[in-house]
């Protein structure tokens, strides 16, 4: 399907939502000003994958289900330039199970303010709940950037977009009392007159001028590993650091490598210890006298995939010192150490 929306006059700083990107849909969203392409930007729900600047699909097979009004299948498109036409092309990529397809577009009529919901970074968060111990997102662990607008608020919803709370800050919410389930934390910018911003309402029913950010997941569990964690009574400190300021001097001993798609992780150094590939992971150990552990993570040329490497310690460590080398070309490296929440 190819839908074209032409405005009677030039519209500037336009924002609109496209819902229900599901099943086998592929949507291409383009904007024009009198035939000249205009750049769009978009923030996507967790079940929407973006390819390039204008193409959107369900993010994996678990998202290829039929939904209606589910915020995780929604994208918010923002256009800071002036436009005269919007074109949305939908391709049904289903082959063996062609069940048709649909999407919903919601334009925010009469919005004149330069609203930007901003971008959230942080999380996801996981708590063991219903144990009587408060479970709050640590203060400052969700970073908001790029937001603008006359009014704003934080919004906490369930996984269906139903509003559970409008806290001053995400850290104010105690998830322990919410029971098992999944919450989403959002940031909302809006103009006066917005309706539907109430506990019990659904974010898909907002009426007015608003812009909703990406969401951060909060997983609330009443059982499982997160609820069976014993805090370490002591935190071991690694042996004295022998880092010499150069990774070049570390000879390759006990190599082991792990390939996932276009990405590869290689252990280059474990002097007296071992590095063993075990299906989808590498176990590496060292003993006193080693000079460190050098790990290379790389992805192939031609692959635009991002990578996440998870380093789990056999026991908690404190005072850890490590180096990250070769931050170059167009890399952005995000480093997040953490400790599992303890009872």
């Amino acid at each position: 399907m190819d839908a074209k929306y032409s405005f009677t006059e030039e519209v500037c700083t336009l924002s609109f939502d496209v819902w229900d990107i599901d099943e086998t849909d592929e949507l291409v969203i383009e904007a024009f000003n009198d035939g000249t392409p205009v750049m769009i930007s978009a923030s996507s729900g967790q079940c929407v994958a973006q390819f390039g600047s204008d193409t959107f699909m369900p993010d994996g097979s678990s998202c290829e289900v039929q939904v209606s009004g589910d915020v995780s299948h929604k994208i918010t498109v923002s256009i800071s330039s002036c436009v005269t036409d919007i074109r949305i092309k939908m391709y049904d990529q289903g082959t063996s199970n062609n069940g048709g397809g649909s999407y919903t577009t919601v334009f925010k009529e009469g919005c004149t303010d330069d609203l930007d919901d901003g971008t959230l970074e942080g999380g996801p968060f996981e708590f063991c709940v219903s144990n009587g111990e408060a479970d709050n997102i640590p203060t400052g662990s969700i970073a908001l950037s790029g937001n603008s607008g006359a009014n704003s608020t934080w919004v906490v919803t369930d996984d269906q977009g139903n509003i559970l709370g409008l806290p001053p800050m995400p850290s104010d919410v105690d998830f322990d009392v919410a029971g098992q389930g999944t919450c989403f934390v959002w940031h909302l910018s809006f103009e006066e007159g917005l309706t539907g911003l109430q506990i019990g309402q659904n974010v898909s029913n907002f009426q007015g001028c608003y812009s909703l950010s990406n969401s951060i997941s909060v997983f609330r569990n009443e059982s499982g590993a997160i609820c069976n964690v014993t805090c370490p009574e002591t935190c071991s400190t690694p042996y004295l650091a022998l880092l010499d300021g150069s990774d070049n001097g570390m000879a390759d001993i006990n190599n082991a490598s792990l390939t996932v798609g276009n990405a590869i992780l290689t252990v280059h150094r474990s002097f007296n210890g071992t590095a063993v590939v075990d299906e989808n992971k590498i176990n590496a150990s060292q003993t006193s006298g080693d000079v460190g552990l050098r790990l290379d993570v790389a992805h192939a040329i031609g692959s635009a995939n991002n990578m996440e490497a998870v380093f789990s310690f056999s026991e908690a460590v404190c005072g850890l010192h490590f180096e990250v080398w070769d931050i170059n070309q167009t890399d952005e490296i995000v480093i997040r150490p953490s400790i599992m929440e303890c009872q």
Partner: protein, 84 residues
């Protein structure tokens, strides 16, 4: 729970928020291996049991890599995931 850490970045590495590191300008967006100016040093004072390092290829498919060097004595289980 996230744990904060101390950072000492060398000349070709820019820290753009609490946890993100990029080459410090076009002059540093070149391929290098083992060059100290493209290295950042991390010191985690508090207790941790996991480190996640996510690498975003902001160049649209020109490949990429980085190297992590841990001090001696750690025992690790490592996993790798691709993200779209």
């Amino acid at each position: 729970m996230p744990v904060s850490y101390l950072v000492n970045t060398n000349t070709c590495v820019a820290q753009i928020n609490q946890t993100s590191f990029v080459p410090d300008g076009p002059a540093c967006e070149i391929q290098r291996h083992g060059e100290p100016s493209h290295m950042t040093d991390i010191f985690v004072i508090e207790c941790i049991d996991e480190i996640r390092i996510t690498s975003f290829d902001q160049g649209g498919g020109i490949g990429g890599s980085y190297t992590t060097v841990f001090q001696e004595g750690v025992q690790l289980m490592m996993m790798l995931m691709e993200e779209s």
